[in-house]
């Protein structure tokens, strides 16, 4: 049992194919772990029966020699992906009880590759938040504890996706990243989180937040596992008009390829005033690891970095206000009855959406309204182009960029929720990649003095996830980070 939870996905595939273990054994170990770690509030809708059925199918596929690349691997899914006949709520009251009649492209590709669905994972409501505290189901809790024992945020919005992989209640999971919602919780929980290039994974069947920024990506314990599941998730889909017609290499082949001679950029603008010393320390550490591995370190400038967050907080809410107009109590979701149609809309939306979602709808509506459109929305789109141009010129000179993932380690639940801007500032290092559409990965690099994980972020030019995997695996090799959160499923810790 202990050995089962400790296996990486890559090791599990090997053991499954050698018939040393069965998928049903592996899946049952994870089902038990879901139970023992239930206080972390990671699963909002467990799908135990489906998991067992899929595990049986995987065992049959191995016996028949027809197993796919993810066959038999237990995987959790952020509750933002539509899953056929399984409740999908986006962790919002307005969608409680919604049961899709179709499956998202990304999850259907995972199941076609043999993955086993453990259940739906907690997240911020409509993925709007950085702490998982805006979820209608309450926050996902970080399996790591500070030395003083306070309960910590798993990060957000994909808090349950990160926490479950760290706690050993999922071998891998999928989430989405609109402004850092994969990379920030991955850093907080000490796991690997990848936000692919915009257009790399289909957005079809994912509950939309900000359509020009949203991307699906995996959470894993190792860089090798990330490459394994990402290869199955990516690819063109005619049902998403922004999905890219670009071939998908087998990314597992590039993990552990040498970084010798690669040029790694260090952007001066990511040295923020008042940044934690520990963050500066781990960043310097990452730089020297890559130097030791034979890479050349280059100081670079991304001059518009400081404007990325305010730019994002116009663009993302504007797109959200438009996307969330569909929740009107007519076609799906919950309804509050009223005399007139307009009163019904207004009462339904006021009751169904939480505070942060309403705040963002209002900001977005304001930014798009007559008289303010040019001053806010067009201005933000112009700044967005400048941010993208910063990266375009940087990547003429370097192969990848190294930054911290977050300005702090995981914070206590309740510490930031009452002040929106303080919460938004948590995404300061992750938001630029979404605006520019480039891929980024967070890899665990070490522990803070409080004993909490710290992550390093790597960024690369569009469709160069291969470079992320090779540089991230160089960091992984040198960091020797060992996953041992206090509140993990028994044998994992």
């Amino acid at each position: 049992m202990s050995d089962l939870l400790k296996m990486t996905a890559t090791q599990a595939v090997f053991s499954l194919s050698q018939k040393e273990i069965s998928s049903i054994e592996l899946t049952n170990a994870y089902i038990d772990a879901m139970e023992t770690t239930s206080a972390l509030n990671n699963y909002v809708t467990p799908t135990i029966e489906i998991a067992k059925q899929m595990a049986e199918n995987a065992d049959k596929a191995y016996a028949a020699g027809s197993a796919g690349p993810l066959a038999g691997l237990p995987i959790g899914v952020k509750d933002l992906f539509c899953t056929k006949d399984t409740q999908t709520t986006a962790c919002s009251g307005i969608l409680k009880g919604f049961t899709p009649t179709y499956e998202s492209t990304v999850t259907s590709q995972i199941w076609q590759s043999g993955g086993v669905m453990l259940g739906k994972l907690n997240c911020d409501e409509f993925a709007m938040g950085s702490s998982n505290e805006t979820s209608i189901f309450g926050p996902a809790v970080n399996p790591w504890s500070a030395k003083d024992g306070a309960a910590l945020s798993a990060g957000g919005s994909s808090g349950g996706s990160a926490s479950s992989v760290a706690a050993g209640s999922a071998l891998m999971s999928v989430g989405t990243d609109t402004g850092g919602s994969i990379r920030q919780p991955a850093a907080f929980c000490g796991v690997v989180g990848l936000k692919p290039t915009y257009g790399r994974c289909s957005r079809w069947g994912i509950v939309a937040f900000a359509s020009s920024l949203d991307q699906a990506g995996p959470f894993t314990r190792t860089v090798g596992d990330s490459a394994l599941i990402f290869s199955a998730m990516a690819g063109h889909d005619s049902k998403d008009s922004t999905s890219a017609s670009v071939s998908v290499p087998n990314f597992s082949d590039v993990v552990n390829s040498s970084v010798e001679g690669m040029r790694i950029g260090i952007p001066g603008e990511y040295h923020m005033d008042g940044m934690d010393d520990e963050i500066t320390r781990i960043w310097k550490q990452g730089r020297s690891w890559l130097e030791q591995a034979g890479a050349t370190i280059v100081d670079i400038s991304l001059p518009h970095t400081k404007y990325a967050l305010p730019c994002y907080y116009i663009i993302a809410p504007a797109e959200a206000s438009s996307n969330l107009a569909r929740y009107d109590g007519v076609r799906y979701g919950n309804r509050v009855d009223a005399e007139t149609l307009d009163e019904m809309y207004e009462a339904t939306r006021a009751a169904g959406f939480g505070e942060e979602v309403q705040r963002r709808i209002l900001i977005g509506t304001y930014a798009l309204s007559a008289g303010y459109y040019d001053a806010y929305y067009l201005k933000a789109q112009q700044v967005r182009r400048l941010i993208k141009q910063d990266f375009d010129s940087a990547f003429n000179n370097v192969d990848a960029i190294l930054t911290p993932t977050t300005p702090t380690a995981a914070f206590e639940l309740g510490a930031k929720i009452s002040d929106p801007i303080t919460m938004y500032l948590n995404d300061i290092f992750t938001v630029p990649a979404n605006l520019a559409g480039i891929p980024g990965i967070s890899v665990p690099a070490g522990l803070s003095k409080q004993g909490l994980p710290l992550g390093l972020q790597l960024l690369a030019a569009p469709f160069r996830e291969d470079r992320l995997f090779s540089v991230a695996s160089a960091i992984e090799t040198q960091a020797q980070f060992s996953l041992a959160p206090a509140r993990a499923a028994g044998e994992l810790s």
Binding site: P310, V330, M344, E346
Partner: protein, 95 residues
């Protein structure tokens, strides 16, 4: 940019969100703070910069104009709060 509570109510009306008197005052402070913080964008010289709506700037793909699904009324209606026959039901719109 100050957003007074009348402005909040107007935006809330556009967004079809019912808000109480009390909440509109809280939101007025909240939105004002956020918009003030956002206004640092004014420092950036964007003269002559083309707005970027999506990093995917090539034109949208075309496909054959064919029916690709259909005959799925029951699926379309499955999650509706109220239906009658093959229709969604809403409060009376026209007297």
């Amino acid at each position: 940019m100050a957003v007074d509570k009348h402005a909040v109510k107007k935006i809330a009306r556009l967004a079809r969100l019912q808000i109480s008197e009390e909440k509109s005052e809280l939101l007025s402070a909240d939105l004002g703070n956020i918009l003030n913080w956002i206004e640092q964008l004014e420092e950036v010289d964007t003269t002559g910069i083309e707005p970027l709506a999506s990093v995917n700037e090539h034109s949208l793909p075309w496909r054959e104009d064919l029916v690709t699904d259909g005959e799925i009324n029951d699926q379309v209606l499955k999650n509706a709060p109220e239906t009658a026959g093959e229709f969604f039901v809403v409060p009376k719109v026209v007297e």
